[in-house]
């Protein structure tokens, strides 16, 4: 190996690890082609790169399980829980596809729940029309939902809760029961990918979402996030002010509606609480009696508005020991 080859070693190491500037690649490759010693060195480093990649890929650790243990420990810690109000809504969870649809439906319910109450005739400090605008402008939202009243045996809501991440492109819902994550449903409109994880069974489904499903989901989103359509819809509902109260340390303004006209239920009560300072929804409570006289409740809270949710952040990891369903 020539003396200047010692300097080339650095570049070879950079090339193998992918950090060599593009401008230097051609020159380096030329040298490597002409110099047997550097060629051997490059080959050795490439072989080691493969070994390292394989070595670290084989590390036997269950990240998901460890994450769950952390969350479990936190749940069992002495930190006080936030106040828990009961929620309402019914979901039908009989098949993975239905679960996916429900994930989208939950979003619709959220938006419906929010906008059903938006009007302009209140006297509070919250400018309700601006709430609609802010929600529409929010690139992503995270929230918790809980409920009671389901007749479906597969429904976890009475004993659990869901965390949903949602942007224009991705929707993910994690379903928890007794503090343990049981299901994850992920939906990416850009890549047309559907992922369902059954954590308790260590099973997964990853499949392409059909065009019809994408169009259906998109149509739902368009319908419920169109500000003009929503405002028109909301203006048609009667509501009254609930005044102000502090929720989880946030001063909120609330309104309530009992207008069930046009909804497929016997009775309906909805309350929307919006932060006075932020103008974003803080709490949504819904109560409905359906045509079978079953009472459903749903609470949507712990909102994180105006967050950037990339698919990379939201897409669930399929652990290596999960088997396809």
């Amino acid at each position: 190996m020539k003396s200047d080859c010692e300097k080339i070693k650095d570049q070879i190491a950079d090339l193998v690890t992918g950090i060599l500037p593009e401008a230097q690649v051609h020159e380096l490759e030329q040298h490597v082609n002409e110099c047997a010693a550097c060629r051997d060195y490059a080959r050795a480093l490439k072989d080691e790169d493969m070994l390292l990649t394989e070595f670290f890929a084989k590390i036997d650790t269950d990240i998901t399980h460890q994450q769950e243990r952390v969350l479990q420990a936190i749940n069992q810690s002495g930190v006080s829980k936030q106040s828990e109000t009961h929620l309402i809504w019914r979901t039908i969870m009989k098949s993975p596809i239905t679960k996916l649809a429900v994930a989208a439906a939950v979003i619709v319910v959220v938006v419906l729940g929010l906008f059903e109450f938006i009007g302009t005739d209140g006297t509070s400090g919250v400018v309700w029309a601006e709430v609609a605008q802010k929600i529409e402008a929010s690139p992503g939202v995270i929230f918790r939902s809980r409920g009671t009243g389901s007749r479906d045996p597969n429904d976890d809501w009475p004993n659990g809760y869901k965390i949903t991440w949602r942007s224009a492109v991705v929707t993910r819902t994690d379903r928890y029961r007794d503090g343990q994550i049981r299901r994850t449903i992920y939906y990416n409109l850009d890549t047309k990918t559907t992922i369902l994880l059954a954590h308790d069974a260590k099973k997964y489904i990853k499949e392409a979402t059909s065009d019809a499903q994408v169009q259906r989901a998109q149509a739902d989103k368009d319908r419920w996030t169109d500000p003009q359509g929503l405002v028109n819809f909301c203006l048609a509902l009667k509501h009254h002010s609930l005044g102000q109260k502090t929720i989880d340390g946030v001063l909120c303004e609330g309104i309530e509606t009992t207008d069930s006209s046009g909804l497929p239920v016997k009775s309906f009560t909805g309350r929307l609480w919006v932060g006075v300072e932020t103008g974003y929804p803080v709490l949504v409570e819904i109560e409905a009696i359906d045509d079978g006289s079953i009472r459903h409740t749903s609470t949507l809270d712990q909102f994180q508005w105006n967050v950037d949710l990339s698919a990379e952040d939201v897409e669930p990891e399929i652990h290596t020991d999960y088997e396809p369903l």
């Binding site: 070693k9 650095d10 190491a13 950079d14 193998v16 690890t17 992918g18 950090i19 060195y41 050795a44 480093l45 080691e48 790169d49 070994l51 390292l52 990649t53 394989e54 070595f55 670290f56 890929a57 084989k58 590390i59 036997d60 650790t61 990240i63 460890q66 994450q67 243990r69 952390v70 969350l71 420990a73 936190i74 749940n75 810690s77 930190v79 006080s80 829980k81 936030q82 690139p139 992503g140 995270i142 918790r144 809760y161 965390i163 994690d174 989880d248 340390g249 712990q302 994180q304 508005w305 105006n306 967050v307 950037d308 949710l309 952040d313």
Partner: protein, 175 residues
């Protein structure tokens, strides 16, 4: 201007929201584990310390003023816990049989490579481990270790070169 996801989630956590912390665990646990694995060199200890770090992060989160710095902050907690463990080990000097067994378990089967990695100095082993375990991206390693991009590249390069020397040395000794 939109606030970062970490910033908004940390704000919720500071108000005692356990559920929001799940987002942070999901986003950062793997990086924390990778760092611990790099510093400690074995999976069992890395698992223990990574979980301890995330728990400690939750309990101390009210002290974190800037939510967007959560990752650097939680990695610092993890690193300090790793150093505490190493200091305790050093005082004991001799590893127990159980600990020695742990060191050889649950990694790839290439023991030569494992030994060579363990012989790297910590400042090279950590970025190397994070690079190969956690996505092969020098830029993110720089951010996580709070060093410059060129500094991260330099460490990865040095780690690769030194590792090659260690492996070659071992190979020559066996001939």
């Amino acid at each position: 201007m939109n606030e970062s996801l970490d910033e908004s989630v940390v704000r919720a956590c500071r108000q005692g929201d356990k559920t929001a912390y799940a987002v942070l665990v999901k986003r950062h646990y793997r990086h924390v584990f990778a760092l611990c694995l790099g510093v400690l060199g074995n999976v069992h200890d890395a698992e223990d310390i990574a979980q301890e770090a995330m728990l400690k992060g939750f309990l101390k989160i009210k002290k974190l003023d800037k939510g967007e710095q959560f990752e650097v902050w939680i990695l610092r907690i993890a690193r300090n816990l790793c150093f505490d463990l190493l200091r305790r080990r050093k005082r004991k000097k001799v590893l127990s049989a159980k600990q020695l067994m742990r060191c050889g378990q649950r990694t790839g089967e290439n023991h030569d490579l494992q030994q060579a990695i363990r012989r790297l100095p910590q400042e090279l082993r950590v970025p190397l481990t994070m690079y190969y375990f956690d996505g092969k991206n020098a830029k993110t390693i720089a951010e996580k270790l709070n060093i410059s991009h060129s500094g991260a590249c330099q460490r990865i390069r040095a780690a690769r070169k030194q590792l090659h020397e260690l492996l070659s040395e071992r190979e020559n000794n066996e001939k």
